[in-house]
Amino acid sequence: MRLKPILANPLLAVPALLALSGCNTGDYRLFHPLSQVAQVQWWATLFELGIMSLIIVPVTVLIAVFIWRYRKSANAKYDPSWSHSLGLEILVWAVPLVIVTICGIVSIRTTHAVDPYAPGVLAKAEAAQPPLDIDVITTDWQWLFIYPDQHVAAVDELVVPAGRVVHMRLTSSSVTNDFFIPGVAPMIDVMPGMRTEDTFDAPTPLSDTGFSADFSGAGFSWMQFELHIVPQGDFDTWVAKAAASPRQLTYTAFTQFAQPTVNEHATISYFANPTPQLFETVVGAAQAGVVYPVPDALTTSVASLEGGPVSAAATK
């Protein structure tokens, strides 16, 4: 399962070292990559920092040394005629060129490794067991996670069984959002009338918060969802719980759900029996011009957060 165990594991010790040295890095979510995808990202971060340090550190030190050494009062060697050196000038172009070449190779390889549509790092795992499909629809300003194979849907809660690869299709019924779970799932834009995809692996059981990273209007700051990675048994229990919800996710129910709403406490709720092809229907509707306008009154008064669902019909 593990990619580049030789490289990844020693480097993952860095946060541990930071912790040993007295820094509490627990809050630094990117220092603790949980999924394989995030581990590649963190590995790339450390590699980049390392290789750039090869040039940045000496330059910083040299500038500081020159500032000290050649201050006027030090009466060091002064040579106002020295303003050109062919060898040095070739060197100053060559050194960055070499560094950029190395970074470029790393960039291309890691980009393929964590490609949200088909991450190379998860290819083996995907071949072993088909990924869990989840359709994600963002509205103003909530998350709807549809499990087409489990026939349930959840609002502001994402539950996945541990050890599975998750493959998402994402779209928005209103404006652009950006799906993100630090340390687990890479960012991907969520756009109306379009479909994007995101793939990540759910490692060991854990609970975390995910959110939209791309500003989407007045309710944006309250647009979080809970992530629970649970053992398969717990997942099945959860699916059964959601399936027992009295609310059926028809397209009409969706259009009511999609009205601009600030879900202030990210309250979780469930739908049973989502209409088949609901994701495609929502994408098609957005392409046909269906919008859920934000009333002027709501834009200005989200302040009080007493808005709740506003009675503005979906208009074409």
Binding site: S81, S83, H84, Q287, A288, G289
Partner: protein, 208 residues
């Protein structure tokens, strides 16, 4: 490495009565740079048109073959090119200082430009009357804005020509007036070039 030679007896530190700079050439260069920026406006508009020129962006509405008429467009192209030709012939008269000749060229040029704009307005109004305005689809938005932006350039050029028709008899061929006539000629050729590109890309390639 300093290649700067030390001063000699011949070295001058000041340049008295420096003739300065050729104002007309500076203005012409400035006008070229303006046209470069204007060309970039059209580049971006063409790019937008290219992105939105597909059945998906037509959103069920009409697309190029139903919207444009390449034969009528050909007449429009003749009008634009004719307008450029009459203006250029007018500026030939400028060399001999012939005010009437220049003004006649400009007047013919305005007439042909109005013919062009007449065709264009007729087309666009026709589309609007059918409900196929810029609000109909992404494709029609791009079509209208591209065509109208070019049309506005022509309107602007016509206003400029009208001003010149007043300035030539009242001010004569002063340096300012001559510089304006030369820049206007470049502007007029510029908009004609844009139209030819529009004709090739939107009308000819679009229709088939």
């Amino acid at each position: 490495m300093s290649t700067d030679a030390p001063p000699t007896d011949a070295t001058k530190l000041f340049h008295p009565h420096f003739a300065g700079h050729d104002q007309i050439s500076a203005r012409t260069l400035g006008f070229w740079l303006y046209m470069l920026s204007d060309a970039l406006i059209f580049t971006a508009l063409f790019a937008a048109y290219a992105v939105l020129n597909n059945p998906m962006s037509a959103a069920g509405g009409p697309i190029a073959p139903q919207v444009v008429n390449p034969v009528e467009g050909l007449w429009q192209t003749y009008a634009v090119l004719g307008s450029v030709a009459t203006y250029s012939l007018g500026t030939v008269a400028l060399k001999s200082g012939n005010k009437a000749g220049v003004m006649l060229g400009i007047i013919l040029s305005i007439v042909l430009a109005l013919v062009f704009l007449g065709f264009e307005t007729h087309d666009l109004l026709g589309l609007l009357a059918k409900g196929d305005g810029p609000a109909r689809s992404g494709y029609l938005s791009a079509f209208f804005i591209l065509i109208a932006t070019h049309g506005l350039h022509m309107v602007f050029g016509i206003i400029w020509m009208l001003v010149m028709l007043v300035q030539i008899p009242t001010m004569g061929f002063t340096a300012n007036v001559v510089a304006r006539l030369i820049n206007l000629r470049m502007f007029w050729q510029f908009q004609a070039t844009i139209w030819v590109l529009v004709y090739i890309y939107v009308y000819m390639i679009g229709a088939y």
